[in-house]
């Protein structure tokens, strides 16, 4: 081995070491984002991109992103973000990226990973989620009050616990306002499929439903409902309001930036490193400001419906006769208060097969929330994976 080859080898190793050098607290950071859909979906990915922009605004962070990465294909993309773009932190933003992210985390032990909506972690991989179930409960309250046919609808993506949890919270809100109402469900087996969402919505309309909520990353359900003069809730932010300003009552909005900024600030300060985030699990709800109900920017409930909500009286077991409008705002205040005094999933709750899923006097733990499979009493329709 002559000296030149040895020198070259040393240089390569040094450079490689420099390329893969771990992040030091106080340094500027490059943050990579992997999105499962297009930014323009006005849904899940759009919201994550808004969070990314909040990260970009931080003085010490710059961002890189890749959109429309199919679930299962994230491995090479992560490798590319780390090797070519020098990312110190990588966020993967879909449940289906879970195993690929864990795999990459175990291979790149100097890089910090964050996985949205999953449950597997590593010393350098944390999980985070802003969950909507409280917001869906609030939406359900209003839906139960406004439905004329006593049939509300939910167009669901996949029958996984996350979607079922949102559906059940919505159904519970509906029942609290309207014990006679049914919640009809259709599944489209995709996070993004405007064609399937259209046909599912049309099928629900044919079944007689008149208020629509959904888990799908486009304004399709909103526009199809509006074409038939039916009401809906926007999903993932108030951008959907513009498609049907007279038919969107409220909706679920999320501020992923609040979670991203909180986490990255802690990484910058050296609180979180690539060795100690095994147990970091952001489960942020309304009280942390991560999620909130919203019809349009700055507007919680569409003013067109407020009079009707004030006139609709609910006989609540705790508060007596109270208008839907007041009950909605009361629950909203309860959810926003860090000293939690109410949860939709507080017992006693029975599923639609008559099983008691939450006994009286108890609440559901986060573990039970993220593994939920049952269907609430007033749910009508297929429910794959339902326990007997």
């Amino acid at each position: 081995m002559n000296k030149r080859v040895l020198l070259a080898a040393v240089l390569v190793v040094a450079l490689a070491g420099a390329a893969f050098a771990a992040y030091e607290p106080g340094d500027d950071m490059t943050v990579g984002f992997i999105f499962v859909g297009p930014i323009g979906d006005y849904g899940w990915t759009y919201a994550h991109n808004e969070g990314r922009l909040a990260v970009d605004a931080l003085p010490f962070a710059s961002t890189v992103y890749v959109e429309s990465v199919a679930e299962g294909q994230e491995g090479p993309v992560i490798d590319d973000l780390i090797a070519v773009h020098g990312c110190d932190i990588v966020f993967t933003t879909s449940f289906g990226f879970m195993d690929g992210t864990l795999d990459s985390a175990l291979r790149h032990t100097d890089v910090i990973f964050g996985h949205a909506s999953g449950f597997k972690r590593a010393p350098n991989m944390m999980t985070f989620m802003g969950d909507f179930y409280q917001v869906y409960y609030l939406n359900g309250l209003v839906a139960g009050a406004l439905t004329k046919t006593d049939k509300v609808a939910y167009v669901g993506a996949f029958p996984i616990p996350e979607v079922k949890r949102h559906m059940n919270a919505y159904a519970m809100g509906v029942k609290a306002a309207n014990p006679d109402a049914e919640m009809h469900v259709k599944w489209i087996y995709s996070w993004y499929d405007p064609g399937a969402a259209t046909e599912a919505t049309e099928a629900l309309i044919a079944d007689g439903c008149d208020v629509f909520a959904f888990t799908e990353d486009s304004p399709t359900v909103v526009t199809v409902a509006a074409e038939n003069d039916l009401l809906s809730f926007g999903h993932y932010g108030s951008q959907m309001y513009q498609f049907a300003p007279n038919h969107v009552i409220s909706g679920q909005a999320i501020d992923w930036g609040s979670i991203y900024v909180d986490f990255l600030q802690k990484v910058y300060d050296g609180v979180y490193t690539a060795q100690n985030i095994q147990n970091v699990d952001y489960w942020w709800l309304m009280s942390q400001g991560a999620v909130y109900p919203e019809a349009a920017p700055g507007v919680t409930l569409n003013p067109l419906f407020i009079d009707e909500l004030k006139a609709y009286m609910i006989d609540d077991p705790v508060f007596g006769m109270i208008s839907a409008f007041d009950l909605h705002n009361l629950r909203l205040a309860q959810f926003s208060n860090p000293g939690v005094t109410f949860d939709p999933f507080q017992g006693p709750i029975s599923d639609r097969n008559g099983n008691i899923v939450v006994p009286a006097g108890m609440w559901l733990s986060v573990d039970s929330l993220i593994t939920m499979e049952w269907a609430f009493e007033n749910v009508v329709g297929a429910w794959p994976g339902e326990p007997e």
Partner: protein, 309 residues
């Protein structure tokens, strides 16, 4: 839930959902009948969808959007035609490249249009007297897009041209045995180019229907695999435009039904139902005497050079 409203709803939705499938299939049938396999349908549809949406938005004329989308689709398909006819490249590769090119181009250029609402969209129409016919009226003649009727008319016209006119004979000859066709004085290249462009035009129109009529918005990848279904439907229709009518609307009806029936049958099964039924029908139809008459054009996906065997 009476059976009358079921039939009306299902047929009506099937017509609406199946129109882009029919349009795309008709175009692909002509392309493949002339011997050129065009796998770029998905890309052409996306480009057409974006073009249609953009033109409709900027000019306020949805029909102009549809027309321009068709033309853009045709121009786009010339890339594939040039590669596979003039350069005699591998048609599978060229078609797939067209798909990715279309997906990428439409995604990048379409970013400016994502999330914008379209106010000047293609409206639904109802045919005045015919819609009064019991059951058939509301199912077929009420609340449909004009493009649906155009597509059905096109299917009949294109069938007639393909089987009953000299142009059709030329097309089929070029697809079955280009050497013989060439010796008879038919310009093989020109016929193939034109057929591919017809395919591109109709794919563009199908894409525009998706974004200007069916779901008046644009977002990247919005056709979500429709192009691949079209390619499958071409085979399912045995390269016959009339059968494409039946095939496209049958497939669409299955898809629509799969949502209506979710309360009674497992959704996973219903999701697979259109594809399973397509396979079942193919098996049943391929047996027996029909098999002699049905079959892919013999020269499909084979480049032709004068003087080569």
């Amino acid at each position: 839930m009476n059976w009358e409203s079921w039939i009306i709803e299902t047929v009506s939705r099937a017509l609406i959902y199946g129109t882009p499938m029919l349009l795309g299939t008709l175009g692909e049938i002509y392309a493949e009948r002339s011997g050129v396999l065009n796998l770029g349908v998905e890309g052409m549809m996306l480009v057409g969808a974006l073009t249609g949406f953009a033109v409709a938005m900027r000019t306020g004329h949805p029909w102009l959007g549809v027309l321009v989308a068709g033309c853009v689709g045709a121009v786009f398909s010339v890339i594939h035609a040039f590669a596979s006819i003039t350069l005699r490249a591998n048609q599978v590769v060229s078609g797939l490249a067209l798909t990715f090119l279309g997906m990428g181009l439409s995604g990048v250029i379409g970013r400016a249009y994502e999330g914008l609402p379209l106010w000047s969209k293609l409206g639904k129409v109802s045919i005045p007297l015919l819609e009064k016919i019991p059951i058939l009226g509301p199912a077929v003649f009420q609340g449909q897009y004009p493009l649906t009727y155009i597509a059905i008319g096109l299917a009949i016209l294109m069938w007639f041209v393909l089987y009953k006119t000299r142009i059709g004979i030329s097309i089929r000859a070029v697809g079955e045995d280009p050497a013989t066709a060439d010796s008879l004085g038919i310009n093989v290249s020109r016929v193939r180019y034109l057929c591919v462009m017809v395919g591109g035009f109709l794919a563009g129109v199908a894409g525009a229907y998706w974004s200007v009529a069916y779901r008046t918005a644009w977002s990247g990848g919005m056709t979500a695999g429709l192009g691949w279904i079209v390619i499958a439907l071409t085979i399912f229709a045995f390269w016959n435009p009339l059968w494409a009518l039946g095939g496209a609307f049958f497939f669409a009806a299955m898809r629509v039904l799969s949502f209506r029936l979710q309360a009674w049958l497992p959704p996973e099964l219903l999701n697979a139902m259109p594809y399973i039924l397509a396979i079942v029908v193919l098996i049943v139809v391929s047996r027996g005497t029909l098999q002699k008459q049905m079959g892919a054009p013999s020269a499909l996906s084979l480049p032709y050079t004068r003087g080569e065997d």
